[in-house]
Symmetry: C2
Subunit: 109 residues, 2 copies
DNA sequence: AAGGATTATCGTAATATTGCGATTTGATTT
DNA sequence: AAATCAAATCGCAATATTACGATAATCCTT
């Protein structure tokens, strides 16, 4: 089907999955790295840095905006993108907590 | 096309994207949470915990094994899964470093 | 050897994602 | 008003993902 049954999982699980999607494609990792390092900000600069078509970059930016991890400020005729700090921290926290629920000891197999 | 151009990205970016995929679906988040908390281990128990068909759970387990974040030990007629600690730590590290490259200040927009 | 229990794989269907050329939109500049 | 620039959106094609029933494989038990 290709359709995820979101309704059968918790809000938290769905949110983590969504946040993870921001990082689940190398192009988006590259974009987030560039923005986090502030090496690029304007959409056109991102397109120059990445070997992908403008339309493709724009699509990845749209997905990142949907997740909320970046935001865009219109500055005609350009758009300046940057990390949306609250969501960046939310992601850091979410993954941090997730990684911490594992404690070696007591292996069960 | 639906085909990611992995060759144009760095090894690190591709690896992060792959690790993120482990968490990019709520069912896999649920599975990893169960394994990390050792609430379940045997494949059949995971199937019982999740409202998904056995074939579907098996497929998610296969993907998690491909990424390397879990491992399975055959214990006929069952298979006991658990977190593969080195990769779990690799993921913790990778995401930790990624989140840390962002420093508020110096916003560019 | 036959049966039972458990998990993996196959085949299929539906939806999602990735990528890009072409076009459109939005706003400035001439 | 026309031209221009940057970015978003459209439309399409190709591949990937998600899900599940059915079947196969595996290995123990009888």
């Amino acid at each position: 089907m290709g359709v995820t049954k979101t309704e059968i999982f918790t809000e938290e699980q769905n949110r983590i999955a969504d946040l993870a999607k921001a990082f689940a494609h190398p192009a988006r990792v590259a974009i987030l790295q560039l923005l986090a390092q502030k090496k690029a900000c304007v959409c056109g600069d991102l397109v120059d840095e990445l070997p992908l078509a403008q339309a493709t970059v724009s699509q990845h930016l749209k997905e990142l905006k949907r997740i909320g991890i970046i935001q865009g400020e219109i500055n005609p005729p350009r758009v300046c993108y940057c990390i949306n700090e609250p969501v960046w921290e939310e992601a850091r926290q979410a993954f941090g907590s997730l990684f911490d629920i594992y404690v070696k000891a007591a292996a069960c197999c």
